[in-house]
Amino acid sequence: MIIRFNIWYLSSFLISLTVAVPVLMIFSSFFENTSEYSLILKDTFLLDYIINSLTLLIGVLILTSIIGIGCAYLVSFYDFFGAKFFKWALILSFAVPAYIYSYSLSAFFENYGTAYSLLKSISGDAVLNSSIPKLDGMIGATIAISFSIFGYVYVLTRTSFHYQSQNLIDLGKNLGFSKKKTFLKIILPSARPSIVAGLSLVAMETLSDFGSVSFFGVSTLTTGIYNAWITFDDLTLANRLSFYLLIFIFLLFTIENFSRKKAQYHSLPKSGFKTKTKIKLVGYKSSLAFTVCFLVFFISFLFPVFQMSYWTFLFPKHFFDLNLIKLLGNTLLLVLLSCCLLISLGFISNYGNRITKSKFLQGLTTFSISGYAMPGVILAVAYISFISFLDENIYFFKNYNIKSFFIGSIFGLVIVYFVRFYSLANNGIRSGYLKINYSIDESAYLLGYSKIKTFKNIHLPFLKNSVFLVIILLLIEIIKELPITLIMRPFNFDTFATTAYTYASQDLLEAAAAPAIILILISSAFILITSKFILNEK
């Protein structure tokens, strides 16, 4: 085996090291002193933060399991009116970030909100306000987060169900199982790794949520980290809190990895696969299945879209006040810079790993991309800590004002995006590379193709679909991204996400609606473009 310590090796090493910086910074916080706030926090809110985080986590896990698995089961195993539509329509919920969902929920159910207006216009009775449930606080956050991210469970479970062979179901019939028993004993266990993987992603997203919990005033570990840094200016404590959260997330990450490995045992050999025959539902059963899927689609996507559209039409002034060109320009600038950086470095790292075949390098890459589990707030804080460390401790940097260059600048923002989304880019390109047998490269070398020529003529044409998918996914993520943009952006630099958040945090929800609906529509368009990839049918 040829190990080449060349430019590819060095580049891959440096890229992985850069991505690993936040994780290393968080670990290093244990060697630094914290302010007195840490003592106060220990005696007061820390337990609340932990309890709230766990409560939220459990609530979201239960709700997303029911919605995600239920919908995946219906569209995978039954043929009913609208089943084909709901198959992809349900993934549109990815276009609605939890914080925007929270604004919609609050706007609809608040005192004299949209629900009240609706009821009043129908019944003419103005006393109904008190009978409208107030979905805020912990319940509001749980619902908002669940309906905006249940898609992870839905997509992964549906894919698993989609690739389950008819033979499995026939086996249940041969053993005399009822439909319920077949579902519980055969279908569900064989999809277990996918369900666990989906739930792990849900858990990570829930723990790292900032926009929704801060809007509903629920104090979790993530808001604690934000407060430690913003309110008490204690970066070390913020990092230390991050560490606790990270331990928890790593645990989930391990479970997810473990379940994915196990998933291989559940895959069926190609030869033994038989496409499923969907059961045709008629009468009330068909209506029931339709109603369930429609309700989920309505609540998760149509509801926030209607609510935001309603306000945009009701208060058109806010829409026209928006500097659309500037917001679009800012968003596109971030997308363009981040995508260029992520795709090019993702390629360099993958190619470096591929040709050097270094186990150390592969280990470092795996370690560094585990940072994807880190909440955006933590990443931003860790990054700022790192730049501050360089500024204060490294003589070379003292002569330059590196803080102003790296913090509160487009450059710094793109770097943290890079760290945040590197796993997405790296894994996307890697999954494409995994389909290219290494003997393909060797064949090219033996036909006289250099490394660069092999990359250009063999790898790039093969990977173009993977790269396209990665770019679209990055685009959706970057458009929706909130906490990193809030912390790292230059002064007066806004995106659709930050504009919506800024208005919402000032209780100007009707003003937040216009940027929110544009954000949802752009994301939806890109989700539809990639729906075949997301549903794993291409």
Partner: protein
């Protein structure tokens, strides 16, 4: 005169345990074909990969056309060796169709004066009907032929073929063997072929190397490998005969207690009275119904042009014998079968 290709005392390591040690081998003339035979997993493919430059060596040297391409100090990158390796598994570029895959080979052959033509290669390998198909749309045999076409078209200084015809249908196989040999000779493409098929190796190779137990046991022309195997391991690997106990009677004969006197020319001298193991190959015995030496038939295999009878001696030795399939009558299992006496073998091969 310098050899065209030479391996000098190289250890090929597929893994820490799996090595082929201290191999020395040479190809004297450009255009020669050599075949490497050996059991699965012995390291034949590793030898090809190392020659191609995909693996490094720690000792010894490999030279091609007078230039050292691998040694402990030198390692010329695979793309700069002008050596082509056709892999056993499908290594076609998945996103190009068959014809485009094959054309990749043509990019390299520009400096040769006598060039193979794309259409000729496609025709000889029967690829006309699949040339617009993608690798996932063709069978493994077709993919193997396409990969072979690509390698041939690159007109390398040294062509390495790893089980090139293993997935190809039997009806094509012999035709392709004939044309492949013709092309390799006509275009003077020096080739090393790894195969598990001894008949293929004996047909294609100017020389054959037998790799056993981590060593190149024998490197010789096919006739010698078959008729004069140099060790018991090679005899057992080729499985073309059996070893029976015998005692040397004089310079021209030896004796087995079941078969009697066996005459012939020893290829190596043994003293009178020495106990040896004699190699008896199926073609060494002659059927004779009138002979007094009768042995019991225990098995009969029909191989089209001939039968292979397995005969049992009094001391339970099982001896294979070829009989032309047009022989007027057949012998069934448990019947007696006459063997011409005295047995005469042209060259007597014995082991201690």
């Amino acid at each position: 005169m310098k050899n065209f290709f030479e391996i000098n005392n190289v250890t090929f390591a597929a893994s820490k345990k799996n090595k082929v040690n201290n191999v020395s081998l040479k190809i004297e003339n450009e255009g020669d074909i050599i075949c490497l035979l050996g059991p699965s997993g012995i390291g034949k493919t590793t030898i090809l990969r190392t020659i191609a430059g995909l693996e490094k060596i720690r000792s010894g040297s490999i030279s091609l056309n007078g230039r050292i391409i691998s040694s402990s100090k030198t390692h010329i990158e695979p793309e700069n060796r002008n050596i082509s390796l056709s892999f056993q598994d499908n290594s076609l570029f998945p996103h190009y169709n068959v014809i485009d895959n094959i054309k990749f080979g043509a990019d390299r052959n520009s400096r040769k004066t006598k060039k193979l033509k794309l259409d000729d290669v496609i025709e000889f390998l029967h690829l006309q009907n699949i040339k617009l198909k993608y690798p996932h749309e063709i069978s493994s045999g077709e993919a193997q032929r396409a990969a072979l076409a690509r390698s041939l078209l690159s007109m390398p200084d040294l062509l390495l073929l790893d089980e090139p015809l293993s997935n190809i249908d039997q009806n094509f196989k012999e035709e392709i063997q004939v044309k492949l040999k013709q092309i390799l000779r006509d275009y003077k493409i020096t080739t090393i072929i790894v195969t598990h098929d001894s008949y293929e190796a004996f047909y294609l190779g100017n020389k054959c190397g037998i790799i056993l137990n981590g060593q190149l046991k024998q490197y010789d022309d096919p006739y010698n490998v078959h008729h004069f195997p140099n060790s018991i391991e090679v005899v057992k690997f080729l499985n073309k005969g059996i070893l029976i106990p015998a005692t040397v009677v004089d310079e021209k004969s030896l004796e087995n207690k079941d078969l009697g006197i066996i005459k012939g020319d020893f290829i190596k001298h043994y003293p009178k009275g020495a106990n040896v193991k004699l190699l008896l190959q199926p073609e060494d015995l002659e059927h004779d119904d009138k002979s007094t030496l009768k042995l019991e038939v225990v098995d009969k295999k029909f191989r089209g042009t001939n039968f292979i009878y397995t005969l049992k001696t009094e001391s339970n030795l099982l001896i294979p014998v070829f009989v032309h399939s047009h022989h007027v009558h057949q012998h069934e299992v448990e019947e007696k079968f006459g063997v011409k006496k005295p047995i005469h073998i042209d060259h007597i091969v014995c082991f201690d």
